[in-house]
Symmetry: C2
Subunit: 410 residues, 2 copies
């Protein structure tokens, strides 16, 4: 049967990550591929007990349809958390929308802001889920290099100036940025760049979509104010999620924005999935009410910190003889971004596969398809020994690759 | 602050139902408005215990990200249920997608099949959530009268013929139909019309989207074969949900379709919300494994049957002197559809509000905005006494309205 799919359906492709992760379940493999947190860090006993309780006692809420905005009890807890984590004051329930994970938040941002052909300023590399969501709206990307301290602001302004010159500034809808420990690069946007981004956004009248799923997973250094602290809800839409701080299986995403924007997103969500599951929202609300989620996550952060250090040490050990090899040393989050000279990490993947080690080729995070000499390496799931062994195998795969390609080890 | 929203955002309107339901919480009011099941019918003790169990024992699944297709354990149970309920054989896991409620299923159908300006054949009246989902894709509606036994098939064929004549047949993507106890009309599409719909769909090479959230809530008469029984997955996409049979708070929707279509919907869901919550999927799977959901729902069906009879009796009692007043007497589901001559039920709403009785004006279910003399009356939530009292108030509101309008009681 030949179906007549939509143009959207015809251009949809499976995410490279999904496809590559299939290999990672090979017996004996070490996978640096997935970006999923370690399930042993989830507070399962507390959640199990609370789930029983909220279904027994609050069944009229938890088993019934919810309002599209989300559980008011959860929104209440989120406002408290926003104050604690970001020192964001003066927010009202009308500034918050609960979504099914932050992927839905990204999709709704796309729905309410982007018409086909509108522009979004994104990084290179950039979070894949955001690119997918904006692609579904047929957006065009204005790409800026993601430097050691965040997006290249000269490039940001160049794009904005050119758009202004070409009378297209009104079609540049927002600058998207993962502000802390970016996925995939692990890079944190510096304090100065946060301020300057807001200045640019104000000067050219565009919005900023600040995505911060990893901010609480900081292992060292001082927390920076969020971009929203400088730009407020007028200028910034802040996205967050409980996937990393609590667990992903509840799929609780959060949008913080001006009430006009939240209102539009609520209307879009009505037609998208009507409402999020009441059960997972109320369960999260009661968890936040009863436990200190920021305390609870501390052992996980400590674990991730040690794993990250193990990965950095292993990289130093194995790749110190590879001149120009680079890796980021993130202050938090889940990812190290490794760059190998002369390597196409997608081509190298099959050598890694033979050596039973898996990573995500940087190509997956390119706004437009092109080869990359970088790779995303997640350190949160493998054990310490697996991290060391995986990096050893990676070095072997690299040597296999350069030999096969007739390159020399630099 | 003046935001530059997308064209989609600018045309989004709040659902009339949502707006009107705000009135229904007035103290002392009787509401026939909501389409929500009675929470007392939900198996809360079983679900509470199972929720605790699946978090404790299966936390590696329930608290982690799921695959976009949905929980394989739930899909297994759904295949068993599809065989039991519809006698659908030969379906594979690849034919099933789990969604966040059937609203997401409708939205994904729109995403993978509809380009802006494409046509969908819909009923008058029609389920509002489907209209919203297809409107988000800028679809155009070809409207057919919903008669006592389902869609007017002459009109269906007229639309298809005209599209063929105008070389637009390839843009008519599907016929949408709620086959059992339609929301809002309560009407069931007859056996003959089911067969004929498939013949028409084959003759003109269009798909049928069969939506069946209410089929299991049958209080009398024989269950009819689904349209998919005649058309198969080649021709029919079948949508279902656990919102009415188990509870809405878990937001479990189901798509059954050809694997090519499911595959495209999975790709669209990746960018839409990545995956559904693992917890609610696994909880539903274990419930279905351990309990007989079709047995469990029987007391609720019996309750709804009695409530529907109470409503029909009350309507007969109060409106027998109103010549031409009509109401459907559904064989199942949650809704009675009442039509009053010369009445604009939207205009009459304020009189009903004064009398503290609420319904949903038929206008909400019109594919294109126009007045309606019908109203949707849900009988599942009010008590027996409230149903009788509500219908008495409705009569008063009607009398107030025709007096104010200078009409006479016919």
């Amino acid at each position: 049967m030949e179906y007549r799919f939509s143009m959207l359906a015809n251009k949809l492709k499976s995410s490279m990550i999904r496809e590559l992760l299939k290999y990672a379940s090979v017996p004996g493999a070490v996978s640096f591929g997935g970006g999923t947190p370690d399930p042993e860090t989830f507070p399962r006993h507390e959640l199990a007990e609370l789930a029983r309780e909220v279904i027994e006692k609050e069944y009229k809420y938890t088993l019934q349809y919810a309002t599209t905005e989300g559980d008011p009890e959860l929104i209440k807890q989120i406002l408290i958390l926003l104050k604690r984590v970001y020192n964001l004051d003066g927010l009202l329930p009308e500034n918050v929308l609960i979504t099914v994970g932050s992927q839905q938040a990204l999709e709704l941002v796309g729905k309410v802001l982007l018409d086909p052909g509108d522009y979004v300023i994104v990084g290179d590399p950039e979070y894949l889920g955001a690119l997918s969501a904006f692609r579904m709206r047929d957006a065009r990307f204005l790409v800026v290099k993601f430097e050691k301290d965040g997006p290249d602001l000269n490039q940001v302004e160049d794009h904005l100036k050119r758009a202004q010159r070409e009378n297209e500034l009104s079609r540049v809808k927002f600058i998207y940025v993962v502000s802390n420990f970016q996925n995939p690069s692990g890079i944190t946007t510096s304090l100065e760049k946060r301020k300057n981004l807001v200045e640019l956004a104000e000067k050219y009248n565009v919005l900023i979509v600040e995505d911060d799923p990893y901010g609480v997973l900081r292992f060292r250094g001082e927390q920076l104010p969020s971009i929203m602290n400088f730009g407020g809800t007028d200028r910034v839409i802040l996205l967050n999620t409980f996937s990393k701080i609590l667990c992903p299986g509840l799929r609780i995403g959060v949008v913080v924005a001006d009430r006009q924007i939240v209102r539009k997103m609520v209307l879009a969500k009505q037609g998208t999935d009507l409402c999020s599951p009441s059960l997972t929202m109320r369960l999260t609300a009661r968890y936040l009410e009863r436990y200190d989620v920021l305390e609870q996550i501390k052992p996980a952060i400590e674990l991730y910190r040690k794993k990250k250090e193990t990965m950095i040490e292993a990289l130093k050990e194995e790749f110190s003889d590879v001149t120009d090899a680079q890796w980021t040393d993130p202050d938090g989050g889940l990812f190290v971004w490794t760059t190998l000279p002369d390597v196409d990490t997608m081509e190298m993947f099959k050598y890694a596969e033979q050596r039973k080690v898996f990573y995500i080729p940087g190509e997956a995070f390119k706004p437009y398809e092109e080869p990359s000499s970088s790779m995303r390496m997640s350190f949160c799931l493998p054990s310490f020994e697996q991290i060391r062994e995986g990096v050893r195998r990676l070095k072997q795969a690299y040597l296999d690759y350069i030999e096969a390609k007739g390159l020399r080890c630099r």
